[in-house]
Amino acid sequence: MGVAVQVDGLVRKFGDFIAVNEVSFEVREGEIFGFLGPNGSGKSTTIRCLCGLLLPSAGTVAVHGLDVRRHAEEIRAQIGYMPQFFSLYSDLSARQNIEFYAAMYGVPRAGLQQRMGEVCERLELGPIMERPAGNLSTGWRQRLALATSILHRPPLVFLDEPTSGVDPITRRMFWEVIDDLAQDGTTVFVTTHVMDEAEHCTRLAMMHYGRLIAQGSPDEMRSRHAKNMVEVRTGKLWDTLAVLQASDAVVEAVVFGDAIHAECHAALTNPAQTVREVLRSARISVESVAAIQPTMEDVFVSLARRYGHPEHVAAGGDG
């Protein structure tokens, strides 16, 4: 497998503010590369640098081996991009938008109708094709934007938070489409701040205050970070939380839904047993205590705690 995107020491500043700080990673051809991180962590800025929309302040970016500074035009012909914020023409109908962008990418007229039919059927766009894009609800807009960005069959697509603001059914449809794309050999670079979506990805990179703090496959991320995760179910959520947070055995305890997730020290061999003992000695009754597979959110919380605020961020990620 070749390398689709190679990023080395990418820095992007806005004035004095460093939005992307010394980021390095590579995206392999045909994989679904998940770019994670909370809002404002520099995901969109990185994508814009990869698409040639923003010039890097420092570092190098190569897409399919082409340097973005010198070969932006060639790169543009090989990528599809779905921006985070809706960027199609609101006064053009869905169909007019798709046709316009197909023309911009030079999709031959001969196969256009068939290709449009294919994509629109996959994303179930039929009912809204003649409606002005500006009148569509967020879910429809995102589907239309996705259709527009993949219609010309680019070998590499950048999707910036494609699932933000869409309903769960559309969300599932999106991930199915992304899987299909990867099946067909398309490289998909997708950002999200919903950590659970990371499970769909081949590999992940996690951004935090402009820095890349971890990368690897979902399993690697889980086993490397937030290893000893214990889930506690109890009627006394807040008392339990206080006890666990005060305990030496526990690195971090957070409320997770209606339970508590406690990350225990990596040295512990049976963390669930340790937690049970801690709670028993504090006379707190529990419904269940069990070692669990950490979720991606656990991983992120663990990493975020370790890296803290940007002033304290140590150099580089660990991937």
Binding site: C51, L53, E73, P83, S87, Y89, S90, F100, A103, M104
Partner: protein, 374 residues
């Protein structure tokens, strides 16, 4: 199909769906032409006049009739209280107030000077100055002819008739020829405003609404993008210019002595200049509002210093030098020269050369400033 043709098609869809743009492109030029064509000319017509007749004699009525029948004035309901005149001037109902004194008839009979009160609202100094001159003319002439008639009937003809002096300012009004001067100027002005404004919005509009982000990641070339964006505006401006030209000749009966080909050619050069300048503004602005404000800040002095209203020769000398930096100045000289004097390349070549140089410089700067980046 060629990509820039698709961009042109898209721009026309925007134009068609945008009521603001339609107004700017179609309605505004025609209204501007009619407004400037009528209002900005110095011709005085139908100036509202309020009259207080304190005498109510045959003579005073005759005088009022003369005012009423004049082509220049429109008598609004005659006031029946002298204070009424002031009120009407203040409210703007009347621009001129005339107060005929009680002893008007008696004085005319005796051949002694009669004093008529004349009140003028000088807010619009141009119109009021000319209107006052006309009014003075009517009043003096009217009173004088009455006195002469009276003198004749009394056999006092040996007496020298009171002098009939007509205010020289009457000649200020160049009457119809001011339309000839103004309308070709309006032609240039409308082209300037329309194309700088449209060009000014071209890029920044997409930047502000966010659509530029999607457009810029396509392989569309810069020249395709700019051509696709500006050609529709050029077409629209050409259409507007044709309508204005036809209205100028058909409606305002402006003389046209020169070559139509030359006018079209120079209008196109001017258009390129303005679109290039607009593009430059658009590329450097972050918001549409900023672009419009910047365009306005350049259009205002352009109009003032171009000789549109005031002859450049009447400006202070340092200002006259500044006018050389204003493309509209050259275009107005060219347009007025072609329209009124039938001037050709032989006479107008310096202006044409200057305008062409500006057009090339502005367009090149607009393209150079444009980057396919956010």
């Amino acid at each position: 199909m060629l990509r820039f043709i698709q961009v042109i098609k898209k721009e026309f869809i925007h134009l068609r769906r945008d009521p603001m743009a339609l107004r700017l492109v179609i309605v505004a030029p025609i209204i501007q032409l009619i407004m400037f064509g009528y209002a900005a000319t110095h011709d005085v017509r139908n100036v509202p006049v309020a009259v207080f007749d304190g005498d109510r004699s045959a003579e005073s009525r005759q005088l009022i009739e003369e005012i009423e029948h004049s082509y220049y004035f429109h008598l609004i309901q005659t006031a029946d209280d002298p204070r009424d005149i002031e009120r009407r001037l203040q409210s703007g109902e009347a621009m001129i107030g005339v107060q005929i004194p009680r002893d008007f008839q008696r004085k005319i009979m005796r051949g002694t000077p009669a004093q008529i009160g004349l009140y003028v609202d000088g807010t619009d100094s141009n119109t009021s100055g000319v209107a006052t001159a006309y009014m003075l003319g009517i009043l003096r002439q009217g009173a004088a002819s009455m006195q002469i008639r009276q003198a004749r009937t009394e056999g006092r003809l040996r007496m020298a008739p009171p002098s009939v002096s007509v205010e020289p300012r009457v000649w200020y009004n160049i009457d119809l020829s001011s339309i000839n001067f103004m309308v070709p100027g309006v032609f240039g002005l409308i082209l300037l405003v329309l194309t700088v404004m449209l060009g000014g919005l071209s890029i920044v509009r997409e930047r502000e609404t966010g659509t530029l982000e999607q457009l810029l990641v396509t392989p569309l070339k810069i020249w395709e993008l700019l051509l696709g964006k500006l050609v529709p505006f050029a077409l629209v401006a050409t259409l507007d210019a044709s309508v204005i030209f036809l209205l100028a000749l058909g409606w305002f009966h402006v003389v046209f002595r020169g070559s139509l080909t030359l006018l079209v050619a120079m209008a196109l050069v001017f258009l390129v200049n303005n679109l290039g300048f607009g593009l430059l503004i658009s590329t450097l602005s972050r918001t549409q509002q900023q672009a419009q404000l910047t365009a306005f800040l350049f259009i205002m002095p352009s109009v003032l210093l171009s000789g549109f209203f005031f002859p450049i020769a009447n400006m202070p000398v340092p200002m006259q030098y500044v006018t050389y930096l204003i493309p509209l100045r050259y275009f107005l000289e060219i347009v007025r020269g072609i329209f009124l004097k039938g001037a050709g390349i032989g006479v107008l070549w310096p202006q044409m050369l200057a305008l062409t140089a500006f057009a090339i410089a502005h367009f090149a700067a607009g393209i150079a400033a444009f980057r396919k980046r956010l």
